[in-house]
Symmetry: C2
Subunit: 301 residues, 2 copies
């Protein structure tokens, strides 16, 4: 038996108080953790918006004919596989036509629809010159229909609508500083035409026809940085250039052949083919039409 002085705190009280404080702290921690658990999980890391990717401006001249729609559906679907791409479709017409407008609207592509009627003399050859020059105006000088905003990084490519394009081609050209080049299959009577490369530099061209042209390359075989077009705003295709010199007429304004930038594994891979579509024969159509039984003109072909 011991004497304990009443009024004096019991020796157990400090640990009891400490325990109560610890309990309070732990309750606080528990409610914090519960709040953390209720919080929605952070959004999964998204790939960054490809804002940094230079835009590819693909220029395609087009004119009314039987295969026009088929030959625009094809590239429109190929281009839809490529990110950060804008299609500049330039009609050889007085203004935009319903067929092309409808096709562009349904394509899901980012596009600019331009139109310029060729001079009569150029409706057969060389086709598409004024249309491509209209696109050059659009890119370099600015003007009608929302040209690229100042400072836009990009590259311009002249893609006729009957060639065959691998989707991989477009990634080859995206990071072009000046003018990039690569081989083109089934062109100029050859399996392929293309730059010859030594130590990563263009030292010549594999071509059968006029190898001494300044730039013996096909329209489908090069792309030009937008910044270079802006720096040389008067660069144009020359409709009066001799046959096979149309590409040279533009490129001579822009670059020295030795500064061409080889792409497609040092120009050893063919990613574009100069395929050509046969003109369809309409003999039966004419016969049926004479009998009033032609194809329903309300059906767009």
């Amino acid at each position: 038996i011991a004497l304990v002085q009443l009024g004096q705190p019991c020796v157990c009280l400090p640990p009891l108080r400490a325990a109560a404080e610890q309990l309070r702290q732990k309750d606080l921690r528990i409610s914090q953790l519960q709040a953390d658990l209720r919080r929605p999980p952070p959004a999964p890391a998204q790939p960054p918006e490809p804002e940094a990717l230079p835009t590819i401006y693909v220029v395609t001249p087009t004119y009314a004919r039987l295969v026009q729609k088929a030959e625009l559906v094809q590239p429109s679907q190929t281009l839809s596989l490529v990110p950060r791409l804008q299609w500049l479709l330039v009609e050889d017409a007085e203004g935009p036509t319903p067929l092309v407008s409808g096709l562009l609207a349904a394509s899901g592509l980012l596009f600019t629809h331009l139109a310029v009627l060729s001079h009569k003399a150029q409706r057969l050859w060389p086709r598409g010159v004024e249309q491509r020059n209209r696109a050059l105006d659009w890119g370099a000088v600015g003007g009608e229909k929302d040209p690229p905003p100042p400072g836009t990084r990009g590259v311009m490519y002249f893609a006729d609508n009957d060639n065959t394009y691998s989707r991989k081609l477009f990634e080859e050209m995206r990071w072009t500083c000046g003018v990039s080049v690569w081989p083109v299959g089934l062109v100029g009577g050859l399996q392929f035409e293309g730059p010859r490369i030594q130590d990563g530099r263009v030292v010549g061209f594999h071509t059968a026809w006029e190898p001494n042209r300044p730039f013996p390359v096909d329209m489908a075989g090069f792309a030009v940085a937008l910044s270079l077009l802006l720096a040389k705003p008067n660069s144009r295709f020359d409709a009066t250039a001799p046959w096979g010199h149309l590409e040279s007429s533009l490129l001579s304004h822009l670059v020295d052949p030795k500064d061409l930038e080889p792409r497609a594994a040092n120009c050893t891979r063919v990613l574009v083919w100069h395929t050509r579509t046969e003109k369809p024969k309409m003999k039966q159509e004419e016969q049926l039409q004479r009998g009033g039984r032609g194809s329903d003109p309300a059906v767009e072909v």
Copy 2:
């Protein structure tokens, strides 16, 4: 001052013990909550796999020639835009070739690579019969190379590689019960050929050539439900059928013309065009090769 009997527990001890037990419980709760927080968040809800969509089996015969690769790159890119699609590429060759194998591997498509060498007499015309029949065997009878598992819902379409296909065509054919049909552009000397529809049924065909053929439709103008091929496992294209009767030679096994299922807005929309690719001329290639300066054969074109 009070007397306390030594050896008796202090009145404070039970609450102290209770507090210690509560602290232990709360530590346990805290470590549970911390474990919960460390657990990775549940995967975000994914859209359900489109298992319910019938598969589209696209059959394309192919043979070695200059434009072979270009003419396979083109449809491979179009088909890559279509979900639940399997490409049956059937080579006219003794076995799979490296060019086609490489192209398929790089395509990102679900594919089956088959090969059957045509009889010599059929290498010019009608092309592709044995290759299409090999695909019919694959779909209906089973056999080599993972045929579709029993009960697979699907549709088979014979897509030659030079036609132009809108991606929209494939959604038209996906839900075919027996045989579905639609117009084909730029074929048979007409703007388009196609079924004539009345009250939603096929009542005839717009065609100029032999309109009394049982099925005056182009190879690109119909698709067949896999279940129908399974029900009629002996249905084949007949290589000895007269010109223009190849499609009829298969379809006569399968369906009555009045039961054809019209698609593409009652056959008023053209979503496939019978475009043809010109054979490239290789005159310059031959000249250069005679001088030992031909195109590098190591470059695949």
